[in-house]
């Protein structure tokens, strides 16, 4: 069972073009900022929107092909969708919500309800079987929504920001439940999210979608270690630079240069961990490293480290301890010197 899809359409002012290929038993995350077209891609896969040009082939069956005009209605696609809103039917009990898919496929009421009950137990929400959706929490609601999607044994499971509407305290448990249930499901799994953590928890590989286009794809580790867009870099907490690599130098677009460890030549990207950026009030001397005179643009507390945004020849984010920030009087702003060892700059071809 595998999915091969190429989605192309215009949604408002956004031109979406996204190809995905998912092998069976694999979860792929379509990751990107809000408004990038992620939900549009998911809707096309589910058959709720048409592609203008493209195709969706699931397990050898053509669900949509704009070239031949082939089209399978959503109710015949055997997809399971967990939506971020519009989760549960408000006028049906939790049990009847879960039984809905089986009933729609002609399963007898008694059988459908019994199996719905089993699924509610599996997801730990059987106590709420008789409740109305308005009486349960967001986290419980998503468990019920997951049960409702999985009970029909879909071939393709689509998760649209399944944790977005859930409060923080319920997220950890729900994330674990999702991972367990999703890995036990043997169809094709696609997660749509703007949350790196969600992608990390549930998916092996990611497709980065920005402004309707795929900007990068690969394994989660690969993409977050060597991001190809500033959005991914920011989500991964990295400084991302682009320029021309030559010998031991990375020449940036604005003309400034960084000393790097050689090896890559031509157009290149480079990442720098914020904690690898040292800050000094006086120009540090001695060792062979990059020293950039910068001004402090802002400071954001970030756990036990503070993130210092720097303006200068290279815009950077540095991470320092509160104690260091105090000693250097960073809160006063002004000029600082940022130092980066050549070995801390990871350069890779663009």
């Amino acid at each position: 069972m595998s999915l091969d899809a190429d989605v192309g359409l215009t949604r408002g002012s956004l031109e979406v073009r996204c190809a995905v290929h998912v092998e069976p038993g694999q979860t792929i995350a379509v990751l990107g900022p809000n408004g990038a077209g992620k939900t549009t891609v998911l809707r096309v896969l589910a058959g709720l929107d048409h592609s203008r040009d493209g195709h969706v082939v699931l397990d050898g069956e053509v669900l949509e092909d704009t070239a031949s005009g082939a089209w399978v209605e959503p109710e015949s696609r055997r997809v399971g969708v967990v939506f971020q809103d519009h989760t549960l039917f408000p006028h049906l009990s939790v049990l009847d919500n879960v039984a809905f898919g089986l009933r729609s496929r002609g399963v007898a009421r008694v059988v459908a309800r019994r199996r719905a009950h089993e699924w509610l137990e599996r997801l730990g929400v059987e106590d709420h079987a008789a409740s109305r959706p308005s009486a349960i929490s967001g986290g419980q609601g998503q468990r019920v929504a997951l049960a409702r999607a999985l009970i029909t044994e879909p071939r393709l499971l689509l998760l649209d920001e399944p944790l977005a509407a859930v409060d923080a305290s319920a997220k950890v448990d729900l994330r674990r439940t999702l991972r367990e249930q999703v890995s036990g499901f043997d169809g094709v799994r696609i997660l749509v999210t703007h949350d790196l953590l969600e992608a990390a928890a549930l998916a092996e590989s990611v497709v980065i979608l920005e402004d309707g286009r795929v900007s990068q794809q690969g394994s989660f580790a690969e993409v977050t270690a060597r991001p190809r867009s500033s959005w991914v870099a920011r989500m991964a907490g990295l400084n991302l630079l682009s320029g021309q690599a030559a010998a031991d130098v990375l020449r940036l677009g604005n003309g400034s240069e960084l000393v790097v460890v050689g090896g890559v030549r031509g157009p290149a990207l480079a990442t720098i961990q914020p904690r690898a950026v040292g800050l000094h009030r006086e120009r540090p001397g001695g060792s062979p490293r990059n020293v950039l005179q910068s001004t402090i643009a802002g400071i954001d507390p970030h756990g036990d480290r503070w993130r210092v945004r720097l303006d200068g020849p290279v815009p950077l984010v540095a991470e320092v301890t509160p104690a260091a920030a105090h000693e250097l009087r960073l809160a006063d702003g002004g000029v600082v010197f940022a130092s980066i060892k050549a070995t801390e700059i990871d350069v890779y071809p663009m």
Binding site: F83, H86, S104
Partner: protein, 267 residues
């Protein structure tokens, strides 16, 4: 309701609001002042009044049913499809609201009267005569009541997108199943509100009924018509008043009951 200092009602609003209340209440008090208990007793036991009452309830309920059967699909198409000429259609639906009911009655007469093509066919093929029949009274009431139902139901459909229907589709529900199991139940509050407005309008209907269906006791003479003929004809003002009061009590009871149960947010 929590009221902060800034949310305190403006004193200047009390006076016009009081005028509005008096404007509604004073005529009703006048009506009550003219009615004596004995009159009410008389009217309630008079078979003519009871016939008019029964006819009123039957006709108005039938008018609501007819309006719902054709009005809900129309509201659905207006709200959920990108039909061409939709704006024009919406304008047409509103027409009976602005048309004087008497003119509406004349319009019905000129479309469905015995001598018109449609009326002629109905009569010769099915032996049905609409004018001056109970069916005609129902038609006249549905004509004026339908817009209320269509507008309310359409607004209810527009309040939410088709998200729940889409969820149902991904769960394998075919279009008609989605309509009956998702669209209609979620529509219940606005359908009830629309039906109540439609019914209230139909119950009080006078002009279109009297011009299209006439005023025949037992056939087309509904309570408003009976009240008017009592008031006009024999000068039996008290009987007219009693009939009006009966109408009033029934409408208020039903509307208040529905409002509490269903219309929480709408009314």
């Amino acid at each position: 309701m929590r009221r902060g200092a800034a949310g305190r009602p403006l004193l200047g609003l009390y006076i016009p609001a009081a005028v509005a209340v008096l404007f509604i209440v004073v005529p009703l008090v006048g009506l009550l002042a003219h009615a004596s208990l004995a009159d009410i007793g008389d009217a309630l036991t008079s078979s003519a009044a009871l016939t008019a009452l029964r006819l009123s309830l039957e006709c108005s309920l039938l008018a609501v049913i007819v309006s719902a059967i054709v009005g809900v699909p129309l509201a659905y198409l207006l709200a959920r499809t990108a039909m061409r000429g939709r704006r024009l259609l919406r304008g047409l639906v509103l027409l009976p609201l602005v048309l004087p009911p008497v003119v509406g009655g004349i319009a019905l007469q000129s479309a469905f009267g015995r001598s018109t093509p449609i009326g002629g066919v109905l009569h010769s093929l099915f032996g049905v005569t609409l004018p001056f029949s109970t069916a005609g009274a129902v038609m006249a009431e549905a004509f004026v009541g339908l817009p209320f139902l269509v507008i309310t139901v359409e607004a209810g459909l527009r309040q939410r997108d088709a998200g729940f229907e889409e969820v149902a589709a991904t769960l394998g529900a075919r279009p008609w199943r989605r309509f009956w199991l998702i669209t209609m139940p979620l529509l219940a509050p606005s359908l009830t509100a629309g039906a109540a407005l439609c019914w209230a309008r139909a119950l009080g209907e006078f002009g279109a009924t009297i011009t299209f269906a006439g005023s025949f006791p037992g056939t087309t003479e509904t309570l408003p018509l009976a009240a008017y003929s009592a008031f006009e004809g024999s000068g039996a003002v008290s009987r007219a008043i009693t009939l009006s009061l009966i109408l009033l009590v029934i409408s208020v009871a039903v509307l208040v009951g529905l409002r509490d149960r269903w219309l929480g947010t709408l009314a």
